[in-house]
């Protein structure tokens, strides 16, 4: 209060009784923050729609920037006429064109009163982790339970004490306690005896597997359109995010196939275009090879998500089925997402059939068909609910 300008403490000042109270807070800022809260709520409510379209994958960043408009507090307004009238002032005569029209009509809002809001866009930044938390909350998705496999992995852990041991593992506190106990029943005994010493013991114990790997397998044959890929990409992104919620160490392996299969880096994976036919088993075999080489099922929880438009050569059925069965028997879950933006076939496809059969064999597997971005959340929900039930 005392910092306030001396003009206010001038003897003639009428306002000095409320000296500087207005510097203590800003109502404008308060109401602005409230506005931003509302924007956040609004964004959060429509999050699935907004995020589904956002370009999130491959950017590597852990935040998503969502362009938002200032909220408008609506009032009754008349329809905007095709031609608005106004009065101006200055050197102009009838027929003068003061501003040329632009074909996009972008000039429409220029120079208009901006008090209504809605004109300025600004970016709100959301953490991907927050978004995933919100989504899981929103979709009421369960947390996955890690499949604690019979692990061969062992580690040394401290376990108990012994009277013998290496000098370096002498537990002094425990040894002193033993000495005190002994002297309590043996007054006048020595301060320390060898019998008092306690050494920490180590033991080998099996560690539960808390690592996971997710295989993202995608059919990139000619029949997969850009829209299909976008669907697959978006689904994969959120599937990965969902698994990351559970596993601190999650490896991702990207495999694309046509009639041959290759492993790709994440960045390149979604750019890959192939042509020609589809042989699903090549992709599955590649996954199988990678599991054998790098991801022992005893140490890793294995997930497979396969995105395809559902086509496969009928001749491949047998091979694909065998391979998938092998993978499914070691994997925590195998999911199939059928992306068909143009002609949805509702899983009545070769690949749909393939996954149905292993599912009916009692393996942890599920399928879901998506044809538009909004379906992605249903797919995510479907798989994660399903998985939680399986494990």
């Amino acid at each position: 209060m005392s910092e306030i300008d001396s003009s206010l403490s001038h003897p003639q000042s009428n306002g000095s009784n409320i000296n500087g109270w207005y510097e203590l807070f800003s109502r404008g800022a308060r109401d602005w923050l409230r506005h931003n809260d509302k924007v956040r709520d609004a964004v959060r409510q429509q999050l699935p729609d907004i995020i589904a379209g956002a370009d999130v994958l491959g950017s590597g960043s852990r935040t998503v920037k969502v362009p938002v408009k200032m909220l408008e507090h609506y009032h009754f307004k008349l329809n905007q006429p095709r031609q608005q009238q106004g009065v101006g002032q200055g050197q102009a005569k009838a027929g003068d064109v003061l501003q040329q029209g632009s074909p996009q009509g972008s000039g429409k809002d220029k120079g208009k009163g901006t008090n209504e809001g809605g004109g300025i866009e600004f970016m709100l930044e959301f953490k991907v982790d927050d978004i995933v938390d919100w989504l899981w909350e929103e979709m009421q998705l369960p947390n996955l339970k890690a499949r604690v496999g019979k692990s061969e992995e062992t580690d040394w852990t401290r376990e108990g004490w012994d009277k013998k041991g290496a000098r370096s593992r002498l537990d002094r506190r425990r040894s002193l306690r033993e000495a005190i106990k002994r002297r309590a029943v043996q007054p006048g005994g020595p301060n320390f005896s060898d019998d008092d010493l306690r050494f920490r013991q180590l033991n080998q114990r099996e560690q539960p597997s808390i690592q996971a790997v997710v295989f993202l397998l995608m059919d990139v044959s000619g029949s997969m359109t850009d829209a299909d890929r976008k669907l697959a990409k978006t689904f994969f992104f959120w599937a990965i995010q969902g698994l990351k919620r559970q596993y601190r160490h999650l490896d991702t392996v990207f495999v694309a196939h046509t009639t041959e299969a290759f492993e790709f880096e994440e960045e390149k994976f979604f750019q890959v275009t192939g042509s020609g036919g589809t042989v699903t088993s090549t992709g599955l075999t590649k996954v199988q090879e990678i599991i054998d080489e790098r991801y022992s099922p005893s140490r890793y929880n294995i997930y497979l998500f396969y995105a395809s438009d559902g086509d496969n050569y009928p001749e491949d059925r047998e091979t694909a089925s065998t391979t998938l069965n092998e993978i499914a028997s070691v994997a925590s879950y195998c999911g199939y997402i059928e992306v068909a933006s143009s002609t949805p076939q509702h899983l009545n496809t070769e690949v749909g059939q393939l996954f149905r059969s292993i599912s009916s064999n009692g393996k942890a597997a599920g399928s879901f068909a998506v044809s538009k971005l909004e379906d992605i959340w249903e797919a995510v929900r479907h798989f994660f609910k399903h998985q939680a039930a399986e494990t």
Binding site: D5, S7, H10, S13, N14, G15, Y22, E23, S26, R27, G28, A29, R30, D31, W32, R34, H35, K38, M70, L71, H73, Y74, H75, F76, K77, L78, N79, Q80, R82, Q83, Q84, Q85, G86, V87, G88, Q89, G90, Q91, A92, K93, A94, G95, D96, V97, L98, Q99, Q100, G101, S102, P103, Q104, G105, S106, G107, K108, K110, T114, N115, G117, I120
Partner: protein
């Protein structure tokens, strides 16, 4: 800091006041207060020094802040009518600026004490709107504490979005409609009427010949004062919600004359600051020049490097009009006009052909593709194009026309007088707000872009 200088302008205050008095201005005393620019900005955003919180003010605040940062706006003063009036001056005004601003404020004080719209509003709302508004703010803070931000905000969303929908022809404190219809006038006492009466009993006379009163329809006529109507007749409105509606409405009654006399009022204040400065022989020469420069900045028609403006500066227009009127008809005639007119009559009566030409006013058409073209126009076209945004408090004419037995509400848009239909998207959003307080279905009748009837509905 220029605190030493700032302190100085108060020395001139009594001199400016007595000069104003001697020139015939009559005003209530004004409390002057120098405040930081940031606070000035907030006052102008909220329209009142202390006003209820709402997120929409936050949006306006940011726009104001952006404009301010871009150097497009500088606020010298904000003044509130009342007894006493309250004037806030920017702390960083120079002495010369503050002397000018003081004179300007006295012009406003004269206007708001004498203009009929202001007088009526102050009789209604009292001469203490600043205090009332602060009280409303407090009342709403208490409501938030008691009912939670979400619920209070829902009420404010609705009330503030309807803030222009009042009817100044009725008082702020207005009784509910009569509950029963007044009995029909009895028919003429002639032979035919007697025979006719014997045939069929009148509606309001039962078979025993007893008059029985008929419940009046609600509303008895289309009701434009939506804030009042909802406050009084919403089927399930709670007491504290009604209070919020009435608080918003009271502030609207205060804002109405400010809105409806802007050109006159700013012009009047500008005329008087210029006049008082001219006659202020007590002012040092250098300060006088500074003040005159400030004056010409305020009443300039367009931005410095431009020769054309697509908006009329009300300060400039009003100032020029008053100068002409006083030069031609004398101060007493001008004072009469000031007392009795609003912007509509002021512009229509006194913005004549010569002045429009002198001011180089022109009408333009702006097309939706951005093309702006100057068009030939008659003087009356110019008037109406200028006044169009001011019709009906700047809002479409919408009236509550009927409440059904189930409590559902019919709203009627008078598209004939507005010339076109409502923006359906915005209207629907407003219906969403309204539904949360009316809590029964609402139907709004208007027309679409092609002129065909359009019904906007809101139910659950």
């Amino acid at each position: 800091m220029s605190t030493g200088i700032n302190a100085d302008w108060r020395h001139y205050l009594p001199k400016v006041e007595s000069l104003a008095n001697s020139l015939g201005l009559s005003f209530n005393p004004v409390d002057f207060e120098a405040v930081p620019q940031s606070f000035m900005m907030e006052i102008s955003v909220y329209g009142l020094p202390v006003r209820m919180p709402h997120w929409s003010f936050g949006v306006r605040y940011i726009y104001q802040l952006i404009q301010h940062r871009m150097g497009n706006s500088r606020l010298f003063e904000v003044v509130f009518p009342g007894n006493p009036g309250h004037a806030y001056l920017a702390q960083n005004n120079s002495v010369a600026e503050n002397v000018l601003v003081t004179a300007h404020v006295l012009g406003h004080a004269d206007f708001s004490r004498n203009n009929i719209l202001f007088k009526r509003a102050q009789e209604q709302v009292s001469e203490h709107i600043v205090e009332h508004a602060a009280n409303h703010a407090r009342q709403i803070a208490v409501a938030i504490e008691e009912y939670g931000l979400q619920r209070v905000e829902a009420v404010l969303d609705a009330a503030l979005s309807l803030e222009q929908h009042i009817d100044c022809n009725h008082g702020v404190r207005r009784p509910r409609y009569p509950e029963y219809e007044s009995p029909k006038a009895l028919p003429r006492d002639d032979a035919f009427a007697k025979r006719f009466a014997a045939l069929t009993p009148f509606d309001d006379v039962d078979s025993q010949g007893q008059m029985h009163r008929k419940r009046a329809a609600v509303p008895p006529h289309p009701e434009k004062d939506l804030l009042w109507f909802i406050a009084q007749y919403a089927p399930e409105l709670e007491g504290w919600e009604r209070d919020i509606f009435l608080a918003v409405r009271e502030e609207s009654f205060y804002f109405h004359p400010v809105f409806a006399t802007q050109i006159m009022n700013e012009g009047w204040a500008s005329y008087w600051h210029a006049r008082l400065l001219r006659e202020a022989d007590f002012l040092p020469q250098s300060s006088y020049l500074d003040a005159i420069k400030c004056h010409s900045d305020v009443v300039k028609p367009y931005a410095p490097e431009q020769h054309i403006a697509l908006q009329i500066n009300p300060y400039h227009l009003g100032f020029t009009m008053w100068e002409k009127i006083i030069e031609r008809d004398g101060i007493e005639v001008a004072r009469d006009i000031m007392r009795q007119d609003d912007d509509f009559s002021f512009v229509r009566n006194y913005l004549d052909e010569d002045l429009a030409e002198e001011l180089q006013l022109f009408k333009f058409n702006a097309q939706s593709d951005g093309k702006i073209e100057v068009v030939e126009s008659k003087l009356t076209d110019l008037h109406e194009a200028m006044l169009a945004p001011k019709y009906n408090f700047g809002a479409p004419t919408i009236a509550a026309s009927h409440v059904h037995v189930d409590g559902s509400l019919d709203l009627l848009h008078d598209y004939k007088s507005d010339g076109r239909g409502l923006d359906p998207d915005r209207a629907s959003k407003v219906l969403d707000y309204m539904y949360r307080v009316w809590r029964r279905p609402i139907v709004l009748h208007t027309i679409d872009e092609n002129g065909s009837p359009l019904e906007l509905k809101k139910q659950s």
